[in-house]
Amino acid sequence: QQQVKQSPQSLIVQKGGIPIINCAYENTAFDYFPWYQQFPGKGPALLIAIRPDVSEKKEGRFTISFNKSAKQFSLHIMDSQPGDSATYFCAAATGGANNLFFGTGTRLTVIP
C-alpha cells in the first residue's frame, strides 16, 4: 500500500507556467516532507523539504505548500524553465526514523 499518493503522473506546461504537483498521506506521525528532483540516468537530488509547523516554504522558484488538516502537500515551480524538465518525487518520514516513503513520481515536461 502506497503510504504517499502523488499526482499527476505526468505534466506538460509551457515555459513560464506554474506546474503544481500534489501529494497526500494518511499517517499522522509523518513530520518531515521532502521533495526530490531526478534527471534521467541520475540519482534523486534533494530539492526542498518542510516540517508540519509551517504552511509554506520557498527556496528560489520552488515552493512547498502544506495543509496539515487535509494531510496534503504540494510543490509549485514558479516561472518554469525547460531545464526543470525532470521527474519529481514527494516523500514523507517520521522525524526519528530513517525510512523515507516516496510517492510514485511526476514526470514534468516544460515546453520552450
Partner: protein
Amino acid sequence: DAGITQSPRHKVTETGTPVTLRCHQTENHRYMYWYRQDPGHGLRLIHYSYGVKDTDKGEVSDGYSVSRSKTEDFLLTLESATSSQTSVYFCAISGQSIEQYFGPGTRLTVT
C-alpha cells in the same frame, strides 16, 4: 552526488546467480540506505544501516541481505537473483540531520 559512488553502474546477470552491489561514501555519514526504484512504485527502502555492523530491514527486504564492515562501505547482496529483482538500485546517506542524499544508481537486469 554528495560523495557517494556505486559499483557497478550496470550489471546483467542470470536468474539464480548471486550479485553484490557496493556503495562507497566519503562523507563519514552514520546512516546508509539501499533503495530500489521501479516504475509505478517510486523508491522503496530495502535495508538501512545506522552504524558499522548495525543494519535493519526496510519495506522490501525479502531476497536481499546487507553488510557494513566499514563506515564508508555498504554492500547489498542478492543471494539468488530473480527476474523480479530487475530494477535500478540507489544508495543514500545521511548524517546528523534527516536529509538523505542519493548516489548515481546501479541498473541491474536479471535474465
